[in-house]
Amino acid sequence: MGKGSLRDLGSACFFLAPALFLYITFVIYPTLDLFRFSFTSWDGVSPVKQWVGIRNYQELFSDRIFWQAFRNTLLWAGIVLFLNVFVALILAALIAEPIRGRVGFQLAYFLPAVQAGVVTATIWRWMYQPNGVINTFLRTVGLGRFARGWLGDFALALPALAVASSWMGMGVNIAIFLGGIQNIDPALYEAAKIDGANRFQLFRYITVPSLYHTIVIVLILSTIGAFKTFDIVWATTQGGPVRATELLATYTYKKGMLEVRYGYGSSIAVFLMLLIVLLSALYFFQQKREA
């Protein structure tokens, strides 16, 4: 390290101080604390944090509700990925066609993306009600036998909420894919068209392979987003009926904040955190390969 690298040290301290203070106090320290709490039976208030070793983790792995929350989270992610990666990619490819009104379509897809989770929850809870707009529509078109109280149904509550959540997230992915498609060399498409390729073949053999890295990255980011979901479930079913929509995030909150079992709640959060770190590592690996 030469003298040159110390030249700006004083200024650097000044410019970085506020950011580092906030980051260390409210991100790094709590992250370390989270791991520490997960080895205690702390109730969140008492001055003593009783060390219990791996007992929380033993309880966690034999906790049927935890496993159900984990399975629910995976199912949630699966539905979100289908809609917000697969369907979003197709829609992006269609918007990229030489059409009029592209800006208008993009606006329509993106408008839900700026909505709050609680707003999405309020709107969709109303639409899913027994006498809500979805059932009214089904009855109007003669499909009344499919009408039901969507969020009260054990099998359908989770998919119904995942669809609402996807509504909120789809626009961002469409915009990412559209940006990617517009960067593909038009000569590729022209050449394939001369060879007589149809629209589906252009999508399958040019768009998808050209966007391979973007697709992988969006897959990872959408999975991370799905794992973090809390608001929309908390504002509608709070994990119910029974445990049908319990996710890792809602279960952590219930155990930690509501039942004040800080230690146990933290062990669930550690599990969630490790899943996300693993996925993030995949993301950086993918970014590096692309670069």
């Binding site: 390290m1 690298s5 700006d8 040290l9 200024s11 650097a12 000044f14 410019f15 970085l16 506020p18 950011a19 580092l20 906030l22 980051y23 106090t25 409210f26 991100v27 790094i28 709590p30 989270l34 969140g44 829609l91 269609l94 066609e97 059409i99 208008g104 897809y109 993106f110 408008l111 839900p112 700026v114 909505q115 709050a116 609680v118 709107i123 809870r125 009600q129 809500g132 707009v133 509504w167 992915n173 990412i176 940006g179 969006v218 973090k228 809390f230 608001d231 908390w234 504002a235 952590t252 930690g256 904040m257 800080y262 933290s266 959060a269 969630l272 955190m273 996300i276 993301y283 950086f284």
Partner: protein, 271 residues
């Protein structure tokens, strides 16, 4: 018009109507009186009535929650613009030991999910006596989103010509003058993205506000809406109006700054 594009238009029209319909139907409901709910949800209100908004605003105390949301989000957005830009300036232009290492540590922060950190964060705030103060929410908002904003501003700075800074230094300006008089104004396009996005995230956040602001006079719109719609499940007009009080400002901002929001949110998908 090319006939081959007809199916494309059909799919795009149907899907974009499906995307916008929930919001349009919510606007309809918010303007209906109770007796108008006997008609189908897709029939516009006639005549439109504003009772639902008046009721949510005064009796639902959304006037208080609105003020609280504005205070927190405005402070969040302004402080973020300053703090993230300052840190990004240091990472982009200053030479100091540990520059790379610190940047790596910040990258790790991009992964920290608030849903997993909420318990220890509560413990930290509690030990500082910050629970039930706006400061708790503001500090947590800033800390959790800082890594992302530092990265986008740093990337922007790195694309600026380095001679600008050198020229200003030759003129005898000190480091802070270079930052404040030269670089900060030059970064305006990206600072606008930072301000808008931080405002949006702050405005829309539920969890931190739910945990740290438990007293009613401090509640923000998200927490207010959570409880309001929970109590008004059989009052679709009231819930719709309450939701729109929260969504309205965000929709207006989005329509005014579409480009910035789309740019920011596509980069911010990672947060």
């Amino acid at each position: 018009m090319r006939w081959g594009l007809v199916p494309v238009y059909v799919v795009l029209l149907i899907t974009s109507v499906l995307m916008v319909a929930p919001l349009v139907l919510t606007v309809f409901s918010s303007l209906k009186s109770p007796d108008q709910f006997l008609r189908a949800p897709w029939i516009p209100p006639s005549p439109p009535v504003f009772d639902n908004f008046v009721s949510a605003w005064y009796r639902g105390r959304f006037n208080v929650y609105f003020k609280n949301s504005v205070i927190i989000s405005a402070i969040d957005a302004s402080l973020m613009a300053l703090i993230a830009t300052m840190a990004a300036y240091a990472f982009a232009f200053l030479r100091f030991p540990g520059n790379r290492v610190l940047l790596m540590v910040l990258i790790l922060g991009l992964m920290a999910p608030v849903t997993a950190l909420i318990l220890p964060l509560y413990a930290v705030m509690n030990s500082f006596g910050l629970v039930n103060t706006r400061l708790a929410v503001i500090a947590a908002d800033l800390a959790l989103a800082l890594p992302f904003f530092i990265f986008i501003v740093r990337a922007y700075f790195l694309n600026l010509p380095a001679e600008l800074r050198d020229a200003a230094k030759v003129d005898g300006a000190n480091e802070f003058q270079v930052f404040w008089n030269v670089m900060f104004p030059l970064a305006k396009p990206i600072v606008v993205v930072v301000v808008l996005l931080e405002f949006l995230w702050s405005w829309n956040d539920l969890l931190l506000r739910l945990v740290f602001l438990t007293k009613d006079p401090l509640r923000t719109l998200t927490v207010g809406l959570l409880f309001f719609q929970g109590l008004h499940t059989h009052d679709p007009g009231g819930s719709a109006a309450a939701a729109l009080i929260l969504a309205g400002p965000v929709i207006v901002l989005f329509l005014l700054f579409q480009r910035q929001f789309i740019q920011g949110l596509t980069q911010g998908a990672f947060k």
